[in-house]
């Protein structure tokens, strides 16, 4: 995915100005930045929520954005989500994700609201990724997950997102994401997206302000 002369203004605040940058496919692109610099607004502009200037060039026919919210109706059962996913998408894809995410370990006869955050996130990944989207945006996705669940999710994402045809952007404040998921690192600062940073550089820049 490439941005050409991309600018984003939300509620009269200029968040990004004349950005030209490329997000590679087959690699996890981590996007960091302080609160309010426009990370989530950038993601929403890709989804068409906010209008932007310039061009976003992508071959992706299908885009999904998954956040820290449930994004699935909490009144449904886990089994309802599984049945719906099986009905909608390719059997091989659903089975592959089902096994990779260990969905069989989730008590699917419970309502989603009674499942743990980690179980909900796994069902969410099953539902949204079975569609085989080419562009995946994760927005603070690993917030509120315990260590074990986070590790399961990292293992899964490291396998799934590194497929050649997928472009992924992981918007995060969670430094564990950087530690356990190697990728490219981007920083939003001064209305620009800075690329080409190493993991150490972005941690120093972001955390220590150096």
């Amino acid at each position: 995915m490439q941005l050409y002369n991309y600018s984003l203004k939300v509620k009269n605040k200029l968040l990004l100005s004349n950005v030209n940058i490329k997000f590679e496919s087959g690699v996890i692109n981590h996007l960091l930045g302080k609160n309010g610099v426009g990370k989530s607004c950038f993601a929403k502009s890709i989804l068409g929520v906010f209008p932007y200037k310039g061009e976003i060039k992508t071959n992706a026919k299908s885009i999904v954005a998954i956040g820290s919210y449930t994004n699935l109706p909490l009144d449904l059962l886990g089994q309802d989500i599984l049945d719906l996913t099986r009905r909608l998408y390719k059997k091989e894809t659903v089975d592959y994700l089902f096994n990779l995410l260990n969905i069989g370990d989730i008590p699917l006869n419970n309502r989603l609201k009674n499942l743990s955050d980690g179980q909900k996130q796994k069902l969410k990944l099953l539902y949204f990724l079975s569609k085989e989207p080419e562009l995946i945006i994760l927005d603070e996705f690993t917030n509120a997950l315990d260590k074990k669940t986070s590790m399961d999710i990292y293992k899964f994402l490291n396998t799934f997102l590194k497929q050649g045809n997928i472009t992924s952007i992981n918007i995060t404040h969670n430094l564990s994401d950087l530690e356990y998921m190697e990728g490219n690192y981007y920083l939003i600062e001064d209305q620009n997206i800075i690329s080409g940073l190493s993991k150490e550089e972005i941690i120093n820049y972001y955390i220590k302000g150096e």
Partner: protein, 240 residues
């Protein structure tokens, strides 16, 4: 549509609608006996009282549960779930209205049974049901629309009350503006039904009146679908 019906069952929407309809009938009875101090309750004054509850208090009774059906989706940021199902704004809105109307049909049947059975007036069951359901369909279309527009539950509820009050005031200006409070007790539609209950209006005329009710609801639905399509960015920004 199927997923909405499943949600309606799982989140007890249908059950709550049944309860609210029973409550409306009960309120109709209480108002008649306590406020109007009627000692002998007849079929005619009971129907009139219950119908008045639906037209005058229905907005307070039913709008919170109807608005909540969309508010929950915005709160949980569920719109991506629907987008993955290839829903667009109008399909989403129509499927919500459809689900709510399923609930109102069940509720109206129960309410009509509670009205008709004690008096053995089964010959009027269909007419009473159609009149109550017409009011409920109107609420379903309008409240779902307000829930769609406003991501804040309190704002959506307050706007529904404000719209009801303003509608009544506008309709009081002229008979030609009665559509702003179409089902309200001050207007022709309500008065025609009361005339029918008092045997002052023929069967044929009440069916014409009911036909007009449903035509009015269809027009309101078409207007709301058109507005929902115009406001598709609002749908995404509220729920993504």
């Amino acid at each position: 549509m199927k997923i909405e019906l499943k949600r309606g069952i799982r989140n007890k929407f249908f059950l709550i609608m049944l309860f609210l309809n029973v409550l409306s009938v009960f309120l109709g009875y209480v108002l008649l006996v306590v406020l109007d101090e009627v000692t002998k309750v007849t079929f005619q004054n009971f129907v009139e009282s219950v119908y008045t509850v639906y037209t005058q208090l229905g907005i307070f009774i039913f709008s919170p549960i109807i608005i909540k059906q969309i508010y929950t989706d915005y709160k949980e940021k569920n719109i991506m779930f629907y987008k993955a199902l290839n829903y667009n704004t109008s399909r989403y809105y129509i499927s919500k209205v459809f689900m709510v109307i399923m609930g109102t049909i069940m509720g109206s049947i129960i309410a009509t049974l509670l009205i008709c059975v004690p008096f053995g007036k089964f010959n009027l069951f269909f007419i009473v049901f159609l009149k109550i359901e017409a009011v409920m369909i109107f609420y379903s279309i309008l409240m779902t629309f307000l829930g769609f527009i406003f991501s804040n539950f309190i704002v959506a509820f307050c706007v529904s009350i404000a719209a009801w009050i303003i509608g009544m005031q506008i309709s009081a200006i002229s008979k030609n503006l009665r559509f702003f409070a179409y089902y309200d007790a001050i207007n022709l539609d309500y008065q025609e039904f009361i005339k029918f209950l008092k045997n002052k209006l023929a069967f044929q005329s009440i069916f014409i009146n009911i036909g007009e009710n449903y035509l009015f609801n269809i027009i309101i639905l078409i207007i709301c679908i058109a507005l929902v399509n115009i406001l598709k960015r609002k749908w995404i920004s509220n729920g993504v």
